[in-house]
């Protein structure tokens, strides 16, 4: 007869049932690249805004990994300045007084094992001071060339797979530069961290409107019955920027618009529009459906389905701006795409025959990111003798800068005659909910602290997105391929992009 006793179950927390939003457990956020631009503009302010909203755990530490010799005092000054300049909330001395002593620095070379040993030791010391272990989040806001080595260094220091206390790895795009390199990177990371520990950030998924797209689709009864080939004529996804490349020539000239935006942001938006309803909003169920949608994309024919362009000098907002090849550090014979448009078909029951047009570009007339769902026209027009049929209904989900949604419908104009005019039913976050939305990075950092991976990209999604664009990238890399089509800065893009839709009897929404 066995004498082994049954394990004693941990008592249940009786207070948890009444709390709508849980605080993350004690945590240490380890920031690689803590003195970089992303950290200063987004990550450090996001930490402060989470603190100000009371959303950080009581035991929270920020540990910066820096190359060089920066000391704790000067790094804390750097954090304070970043918060002062970029946080949503004004710097409050009381809050800063709570955060400042919890900020530490570990200096070293990312390639050196000593750095990771020192980091592990520093983390243990923090836990010892606090009297309890904290989960560790490693945020790699560094060049992707260091991702694999950093992940390996962390693992070899006992901070990767199987680590206790638990660890997570947060990485920023780009996840590879083509399908092969993405697979290689995923494999390298998988050797050091389990997939459930890896949180790949596409900051678009942290935006309020992108999440609202899921609520719009699956929280409203009226849209989903129309969300298919029967009612929808086509979909346009636009990620337009009015700015040039700034000081990012080194990165951008190797990447181009297709890699920089279409492969990640635009295809993520496509997957959210095209996905089937998940059974629940459990992270892997949502990501399963997104991955399925990407896998259903018909392989692109680069000559037929893709257009690339490169901006030349022009005028934006009353200012003359240089052409791409005249930008600082850009080769004068660069063939990099600063504009990319693709025509995508999603080969499944829901979307058969409905084209998705995706475009992105630099130096376009304005900055906007939107998803336009163009519905089919009414099958029969009983209003004879009028100016013509009203334009088809359109649902436009604006991701930035004015977050909201607009439904265009036809309405009778006031008067004794029957004349129609398109009118817009508007929902804007700025006016319907007057509260400021959290920044995307606040939401994503908070989710990562809680371990909720719903808004993070899984390895198979990344690879599926590369599979979509890879044939085009290979065709464009061919030295004998036609050069990118020029377009003047401040115009909506190259003529070829208009032809892409004109062939189907359609046109881009005006920019």
């Amino acid at each position: 007869m066995s004498t082994a006793q049954a394990p004693v179950a941990a008592p249940e927390n009786p207070f948890a049932q009444d709390v709508d939003e849980r605080l993350p457990p004690p945590s240490t956020l380890v920031l690689f690249g803590a003195t970089g631009d992303l950290a200063a503009r987004k990550l450090l302010p996001a930490v402060y805004d989470l603190l100000a909203d009371g959303r950080l755990p009581e035991r929270f530490r920020l540990l910066a990994v820096v190359r060089g010799t920066q000391d704790e005092a000067s790094f804390r000054e750097h954090v304070r300045a970043a918060i002062d300049m970029h946080a949503r909330r004004d710097l409050d001395e009381r809050l800063w007084g709570a955060l400042e002593p919890r900020i530490g620095v570990v200096a070293g070379d990312y390639g050196s094992p000593e750095l990771f040993d020192a980091l592990a030791q520093r983390l243990d010391e923090g836990d010892h001071e606090d009297g309890e272990p904290s989960q560790r989040l490693f945020y790699l806001a560094i060049s992707p060339t260091f991702f694999a080595d950093t992940a390996r260094g962390l693992c070899e220091a006992g901070l990767g797979r199987g680590a206790n206390p638990p660890t997570r790895l947060l990485i920023e795009k780009p996840f590879g530069h083509d399908l092969a390199s993405a697979r290689e990177l995923n494999a390298a990371i998988e050797a050091s961290f389990e997939e459930r520990q890896v949180f790949r950030i596409d900051h678009y998924l942290g935006k309020e409107t992108v999440q609202n797209l899921l609520v719009l689709r699956f929280g409203n009864g009226i849209f989903e019955p129309l969300w298919n080939r029967t009612a929808i004529d086509h979909v346009q996804i636009t990620v337009a920027e009015d700015i040039g490349i700034g000081h990012r020539a080194g990165y951008y000239d190797r990447a181009g618009a297709l890699r920089d935006v279409i492969q990640n942001h635009a295809l993520q938006l496509l997957s959210l529009v095209a996905m089937e309803p998940p059974a629940s909003f459990e992270p892997n169920l949502v990501r399963d459906e997104k991955a399925k949608a990407l896998h259903a994309v018909r392989p692109l024919d680069p000559a037929r389905d893709a257009v690339r362009g490169q901006y030349t000098a022009g005028w934006i907002g009353g200012e003359r701006v240089p052409g791409y090849r005249e930008e600082e550090d850009v080769p004068s014979d660069s063939r990099t795409d600063t504009y990319a448009a693709i025509r995508v078909e999603v080969d499944n029951w829901r979307w058969a025959g409905v084209p998705f047009y995706l475009r992105t570009g630099k130096r376009l007339p304005l900055r906007t990111t939107e998803i336009a769902i163009a519905f089919k026209p009414a099958p029969h027009q009983p209003f004879r003798g009028l100016d013509g049929p009203p334009p088809p209904n359109e649902l436009v989900i604006s991701v930035q800068p004015n977050e909201g949604a607009t439904l265009q419908i036809a309405a009778k104009m006031p008067g004794t005659s029957l004349r129609m005019r398109p009118v817009q039913m508007d929902f804007q976050y700025g006016t319907s909910f007057l509260r400021e939305s959290p920044e995307a990075y606040e939401r994503l950092l908070h989710d990562a602290l809680l371990g909720d991976a719903t808004l993070f990209t899984r390895a198979d999604e990344v690879e599926a997105a590369w599979e979509v664009v890879d044939p085009v990238l290979r065709a464009w890399a061919d030295e004998t391929a036609i050069e990118p089509e020029p377009y003047a800065a401040g115009t909506p893009g190259p003529d070829g992009a208009d032809q892409l839709l004109a062939r189907d009897g359609r046109a881009w929404r005006p920019l």
């Binding site: 008592p11 207070f15 948890a16 009581e58 809050l95 006016t431 319907s432 007057l434």
Partner: protein, 343 residues
């Protein structure tokens, strides 16, 4: 009479009338909205709820105005305030306030407000005054400012999805009456601001007891101590009541004292424990700033969660919770009221 006034990036159109009918008020409201639309400033008529307000007689109009102004930036609503006066007639003031979009292409937003002042007989049927003015299809929230009840409370409560009040409007010996008033309403629809002020504290407590060691200590607690400033006594009592209810303790008595409250509670196994609500150690501190649970020489001590001060947050949250339950509130209130009744 209507007027359009512009100042500080804001516009206001308004109309006042004495001896009016509610039909006339409704027409004026529509007319003012149309007039505003004609100015083509890109204003969006912005409403996410019908906010009915039935203040007690002792609530100063200025206090009401400032609370509503603070809310205008969080909860765009059609606001209908119902007050009492002795004259046997209905007077009304209708206003539309717009914030003008600050940049080209930006849009402003507008709120409208109707103040109805009527005699006691009309207020006893306040629902009939308010029905024609509500925006169809939007949720209705009734805010009951002040510690005492307005005559319009019951008829308007029947229309509301949620009842917003602040049991913290009372303190000291007046608190039992304030809690009893809440208990007389449909508690499941009550959004008590004093409770919502505790949301960060409740998250904090819940996070602390994720630790199994802390949970084991909870079973041995002999004394609960809370330190808060006087205006937060209602919240502090509710926090104590919530902890007791969820820990399975029955509060046996709660007695007001010169600088707080004192009480006892009993566990399911019969052991007694003490509850103390005292003033802050540093008089300048506001809110609830410390909670300690003592057990045989061991202590779980929690200090106020670090966060930016936002005095309007709890009230804003209350207005937005027309379709959200407030789990834990009813047991907390019941525990506190039980102790007060048995003192």
């Amino acid at each position: 009479m209507s007027a359009l006034a512009q100042a500080d990036g804001r516009e206001r159109s308004e109309w006042r009338g004495e001896h009016v009918t509610i039909g006339e008020v409704a027409e004026r409201l529509v007319a003012l909205n149309r007039e505003h639309a004609r100015h083509e400033h890109g204003h969006t008529a912005t409403r996410t709820l019908n906010l009915l307000v039935a203040p007690a007689g002792d609530v100063a109009p200025e206090e009401l105005t400032s609370r509503l102004a603070a809310m205008a930036d969080r909860h765009p609503s059609r606001t209908i305030i119902v007050r009492e006066h002795p004259a046997p007639r209905l007077d009304a003031h209708v206003a539309i306030d717009c914030t003008i979009g600050g940049r080209a292409g930006g849009s402003g937003h507008c709120h409208d407000l109707a103040l109805l002042v009527a005699d006691a007989e009309r207020l006893a049927h306040a629902d009939s005054l308010v029905r024609p003015l509500r925006v169809a299809g939007l949720p209705t929230v009734l805010w009951l400012p002040g510690a005492r009840a307005s005559r319009a409370q019951d008829p308007l409560a029947a229309l509301a999805h949620a009842l917003v009040l602040d049991s913290g409007a009372a303190c000291g010996a007046a608190l039992p009456a304030a809690f009893a008033r809440v208990a007389s309403l449909a508690v499941e629809r009550v959004r008590d601001v004093a409770w919502l002020r505790l949301s960060r504290w409740r998250r904090h407590v819940a996070a602390r007891f994720d630790d199994p060691e802390a949970l084991r200590l909870l079973e041995r607690v002999e004394r609960v101590e809370l330190r808060s400033c006087t205006p937060q006594q209602a919240s502090a009592l509710l926090l104590a009541g919530w902890i007791a209810a969820r820990a399975g303790w029955r509060i046996e008595q709660l007695t007001p004292q010169e600088s707080g409250w004192h009480g006892t509670a009993r566990r399911a196994d019969g052991r007694e424990l003490e509850i103390r609500l005292g003033p802050p150690e540093q008089p300048a501190r506001t809110g609830i700033h410390a909670l300690a649970l003592h057990a045989n020489g061991e202590t779980i001590a929690l200090r106020a969660p670090v966060a930016a001060p936002d005095p309007a947050r709890a009230f804003a949250a209350a207005l937005g919770m027309f379709d959200t339950a407030t789990p834990g509130y009813a047991p907390a209130l019941e525990a506190v009221l039980g102790g007060m009744a048995r003192r």
